[in-house]
């Protein structure tokens, strides 16, 4: 199963008609919206970005050559559209991660407060690495930066998160990252 939607849905959209594309959009909408919300920290901006993503997918998904390329392609689009929406809204006062971002009862960390304190480029790698469990190479491809840049940003984000959240335990995943330079 793909990260975003069942491969059959993607196949139907690539080779099919508008109905196939719309079925795919319905499937990816929650994931797109939540990723955009996590990256942008604003519910309304996330709606704008997720809609823009869906419009792009609607127009371009038929040009994809393989179903396997869909996940990485969609990550790139979501990240790029979020960057664009953030730039366009630079002058607006935004309260990051407001009441639209509830904390689940089972969650013991104030994740949103920590994300709000991170610079956008650190927030991007944090969200893609921790929330979406992407590898360093996948993050580099989504952000169109070098692999080494992802590693540097992740290290900076981790340092900052330690300051913000105290003694959260994330050694296992990060130790593996540092032990193998290509593991990210």
């Amino acid at each position: 199963m793909g990260r975003w939607a069942e491969p059959q849905l993607v196949t139907a959209a690539i080779g099919g008609d508008d109905a196939g594309v719309e079925a795919l959009l319905v499937a990816i909408w929650p994931g797109c919206f939540r990723l955009a919300a996590s990256l942008l920290g604003d519910w309304n901006l996330a709606q704008d970005a997720a809609q823009d993503v869906c419009v792009l997918v609607h127009r371009k998904v038929r040009r994809l050559r393989s179903v396997g390329a869909f996940d990485a392609w969609l990550y790139r689009i979501v990240v790029r559209e979020c960057s664009r929406v953030r730039r366009a809204s630079r002058r607006r006062e935004i309260e990051l991660y407001d009441e639209h971002f509830p904390v689940d009862a089972a969650v013991t960390l104030d994740v949103w407060r920590a994300l709000a304190q991170l610079a956008p480029e650190l927030r991007e790698v944090t969200v893609l690495f921790y929330f979406d469990d992407l590898s360093g190479e996948q993050i580099a491809a989504a952000l169109r930066v070098r692999h080494a840049t992802v590693r540097t940003r992740l290290a900076r984000a981790r340092h900052r998160l330690r300051e913000l959240l105290g003694d959260y335990d994330d050694h296992r995943r990060f130790d593996a990252l540092e032990a193998s330079p290509h593991a990210v």
Binding site: D18, E22, L25, V26, W29, P30, F33, R34, A37, S38, W43, Q47, Q51, C54, V55, L56, H58, R59, R80, S83, R84, R87, H100, F101, P102, V103, D104, A106, V107, T108, L109, V111, W112, V127, Y130, F131, D133, R144, V145, L161, L165, G166, D167, Y168, D169, D170, R173
Partner: protein, 358 residues
């Protein structure tokens, strides 16, 4: 507090309420965006002109209009804020651009005889200090761009403009009169030396006359250079329009809206934003000339021929449209392969009855 950040993060995200999927809104926006994307595709041609010259532009803060070039050693750096681009330019467009330039323009000469000008770009629009010319040759396979800069406007060393951090790339360059020429480093040394020698031996007027022959006499809205060259040989006069597949795809939408085909060859790009330090041409502000390339009856004539011959916009062909008289259009379907025959039809106006000529 001992916890793992990742599961906490995922749990927090799963709790974000998701709004209903706005199906209708996305559907209508997708339709509108398709039309807009055509304009963006044309704008991207701007990047190709620079790329053809082997330079990659950066973006500078809005403290100058146009394109700035810096030199250091064997490398050049380019920053862009705005420029105008003309695809498949006509001789009059080329002459008008050269006449407005702030320097005595010596255009590249000594290129293969079959080389045609694919695009010209210049900046600033009113008084160009930089001009870029991109050539393509179907026979020799030439695809190269040259950047011509008023030497007096060149910067040396590190760019002193705030926000400008263009990438330095090796380039081949020479000076002719008060102009500096940047040629792509990938260009063969012998070929570059021949062009440099030819440019030294010519005058601005002679170079313009030589390049006149490389411009286009038809209205070529896009597509392949080899097909456009064949279209020129087929056209009875200069008042003909060549439609590539992208423009053929556009026809049903235009007919539905009752609009003619606009002439999108000339585009002015301003306020080019930066994306990861590189110019984001797709989100620049675009200004088109408000001229019509093909009228509504012309579009109807093309559609009538496509229907009659079962030709779709996915065909491996382009379509040339002429109007020999007020009551008749001539529509010539030119296949990509020169071995396949062209199909010529006459369409009477206003009945739009199609008659195959040969």
């Amino acid at each position: 507090m001992q916890s793992d950040f990742a599961p906490n993060a995922r749990g927090a995200r799963a709790a974000i309420p998701v709004p209903a999927f706005p199906a209708q809104r996305i559907r209508s926006r997708a339709q509108r965006a398709t039309a807009r994307s055509r304009a963006r595709i044309l704008a991207l041609a701007g990047a190709l002109v620079l790329a053809g010259a082997g330079v990659r532009a950066g973006v500078a803060a809005k403290v100058f209009d146009g394109v700035r070039v810096w030199l250091s050693g064997g490398e050049a750096a380019v920053a862009v804020d705005s420029f105008t681009i003309a695809s498949f330019p006509t001789a009059s467009q080329l002459r008008a651009t050269v006449a407005r330039a702030t320097f005595r323009v010596v255009l590249p000469t000594g290129l293969p005889s079959g080389a045609r000008i694919l695009r010209i770009a210049y900046a600033p629009s009113n008084r160009p200090t930089v001009m870029m010319v991109q050539y393509a040759d179907e026979v020799s396979g030439l695809a190269a761009g040259f950047v011509l800069v008023a030497t007096s406007t060149l910067g040396h060393g590190t760019p002193s403009i705030p926000g400008a951090a263009p990438e330095w790339l090796p380039t081949r360059r020479w000076t002719v009169g008060d102009e500096t020429v940047l040629a792509p480093p990938a260009f063969a040394a012998r070929g570059a030396a021949r062009i440099e020698a030819a440019m030294h031996a010519t005058t601005p007027a002679q170079s313009l006359a030589e390049n006149d022959r490389r411009t286009w006499r038809l209205t070529v809205l896009g597509g392949r250079v080899d097909v456009a060259s064949r279209a020129e040989r087929l056209a009875a006069n200069d008042h003909a329009v060549l439609l590539d597949r992208a423009h053929l795809r556009w026809i049903p939408d235009l007919l539905k809206q009752g609009r003619p085909m606009p002439d999108g060859r000339d585009v002015e790009l301003t306020h080019i934003p930066s994306l990861h330090g590189e110019p984001d041409y797709a989100h620049a502000t675009l200004k088109f000339t408000h001229t019509t390339a093909l009228s509504l009856p012309g579009l109807k004539a093309v559609q009538a021929v496509m229907r009659a011959s079962h030709t779709t916009s996915a065909c491996r062909c382009e379509i040339l449209v002429e109007r020999p008289s007020g009551a008749r259009y001539r529509v010539i379907t030119i296949p990509f392969s020169p071995r396949r025959p062209v199909a010529t039809s006459d369409v009477s106006v206003p009945s739009f009855v199609v008659r195959t000529v040969r």
